[in-house]
Symmetry: C2
């Protein structure tokens, strides 16, 4: 079985939640800051709009910001192609655009991976006709959307086996359709298991400071008629002590070649708790999340974001203004706490240095 | 040294933050729901007002709700004494009032302890003059305020030794002056260490769902010119992994005779994290927090509160309305994760079954 094979019926069904839409050559992003109150799309076709959309988390989630940035870079390529530039100037300006997009968020590696792919295609492509080349780049970026959904469907298929027939599953943050181009990674596994008739309780961490669990994951699951139970991040330990969790599954923003994985802040705490309670802890992510240049988690840059994410919720200030704040957006879970990494080629197991190398060798690019 | 001895200068200085004030025989409670925005007192002299003040968390924190309830019961005694009742009827109605107050919140044992003390005093007192008896009950309740502050000063004195000269201390929820009658338990230890000239970073967990860390602990420390660093609950693990925490210190709502301790939800998670990082984890609490009738944590009733505490922050709804919610207000930390219990007689060490028994035998009542 090719790992790109996929059930086309299921693919069609994923259309209910789509964080990216292409309409008349424009790149529209579901504004995830407004979910669950409103479903609104933001036009991020222009380079500066895409940059801000990623930085301000209108779009978030490692796989989808990779594809969004690729579409943003390709859109910029189209604009440049109509500016009457020489080929060398076109490539120089496209390179600046790539670097700008890559600087929008430092931790997720998919952003670099996807924009590098588009840029390499530009360098290798037919530069005699820049307009045609730009269209090819845009088509390549669009094909990433379907590739990503296909990868997620395969992740779901492989991962469904780790989900119990009944009992409880805990997830942190949002690694769902909203974080990808559709179906999702961690939530894709949950969806696939549900599709296979398994009926279990899905517990969702609120995921402070930005509450992606409370706002996005619950909303997304409800679209599929799965009613989750929301807890605050502080409740995960007690929930496990009550033996209500059988497996934990989360996404990732960057995975080192030894299996250490950066993911949304709080993931490490959940992994330590799972380990202390002998609960399997899985990461679900496409192979593009693995950074072949990084050997361990210490080398992964961790973004620190502004204090107001912690101190203000909606219009509510939750603490006195004089307070100091520490706000890392991600943390690193060491490989020793990870039971398996579910990707489109299967479930990678320790020792990850070997299983990751083998999976990357099997991947198409 | 008597364990009731205390530095009277320090006692006077604790007046800056007082969750209970007695004015003209009325019991006024600092409305902790409004901190840090506003400092307002709520008149809880009437029984139903005190019941609601405890239930709705106008006043919260195990030691102070004990004393507040004792004052509420004594106030009700004064009201009954002027109603022209027979002695037996007076006691019956006072018993009903006691039971009503004890039903306001199930987990903290100090509430039961303090109201039982007042009620026993009523049963044993001179019933020939109910008005005089009621005044005696009120005076006894007032003396609990000073006893509590004295106990906290001793807790602070004993506990200061566990705080490093520099480095980092993490606390969860609010076990400060606001949770007691002044000075605080866990924050009392931090204050005492600061008084001794130690200079360390105080990290404060937000403490979702009700954010007592963000709202109350930060505000209280700023009153003493200690500037804390606020983190979300999800960041504690990563903070420890970065070696920025040398000791964890929290309060307790009920301690079993084996040392298992109920405290604000999320405490157990912090204890597991501290254990995984070889960081000492201390509980600071007066002896009245120990429940001599309970052998282990499984027997401690855990209050579950309404879903809206999780789903609404200020006016902000953070999730779709269809979502299920689990909202336990407390969790239980097993004794094996507790490095020591700091109380007014000293630091109790494992095996707690023995050290707790010895401490209770040493206590005055």
């Amino acid at each position: 079985m090719s790992f790109m094979s996929v059930d086309s019926d299921k693919l069609a069904r994923t259309s209910c939640v789509r964080p990216i839409k292409i309409e008349d050559g424009r790149v529209l992003l579901l504004d995830q800051r407004k979910i669950p109150e409103r479903v609104e799309y933001f036009d991020a076709t222009a380079l500066s709009d895409m940059f801000n959309a990623i930085k301000d988390m209108i779009v978030r989630g490692a796989p989808v910001i990779g594809v969004a940035a690729a579409l943003g870079l390709a859109s910029e390529g189209r604009r440049l192609a109509h500016a009457g530039l020489a080929q060398r100037e076109f490539i120089e300006k496209l390179d600046l655009a790539r670097k700008k997009l890559q600087s929008s968020r430092p931790t997720a590696v998919n952003l670099r991976w996807a924009t590098d792919l588009i840029f390499e295609k530009a360098c290798k492509g037919n530069s005699a006709n820049l307009s045609l080349l730009a269209d090819e780049l845009f088509a390549a970026a669009i094909s990433m959307v379907e590739d990503d959904i296909r990868a997620n469907m395969m992740i779901g298929r492989h991962g469904a086996s780790v989900i119990p027939d009944e009992g409880g599953v805990l997830t942190h943050c949002n690694a769902g359709a909203l974080a990808t181009c559709g179906w999702g990674t961690a939530l894709g596994v949950i969806r696939s298991a549900w599709d296979h008739g398994k009926r279990f309780n899905v517990y969702v961490d609120e995921t402070r400071p930005r509450q992606q669990g409370a706002r996005l994951t619950t909303w997304e699951l409800l679209q599929d008629n799965i009613t989750p139970t929301l807890i605050t991040d502080s409740m995960a330990g007690y929930l496990m002590a009550q033996r209500r969790i059988d497996v934990v599954i989360v996404g990732a923003d960057r995975i080192a070649t030894n299996g250490d994985a950066a993911n949304k802040i709080g993931t490490y705490t959940v992994a330590v708790l799972a380990h202390a309670h002998n609960i399997p802890f899985y990461i679900a992510a496409p192979l593009s999340t693995i950074d072949p240049h990084i050997e361990n988690g210490d080398q992964i840059p961790i973004e620190e974001r502004e204090a107001s994410e912690v101190t203000v919720i909606g219009d509510q200030k939750i603490c006195p203004p004089e307070v100091h704040v520490w706000n890392p957006a991600f943390d690193v879970t060491p490989a020793r706490l990870v039971s398996g990494i579910i990707c489109q080629t299967g479930i990678l197991r320790p020792p990850y240095t070997e299983s990751i190398q083998a999976a990357l060798a099997q991947a198409p690019d």
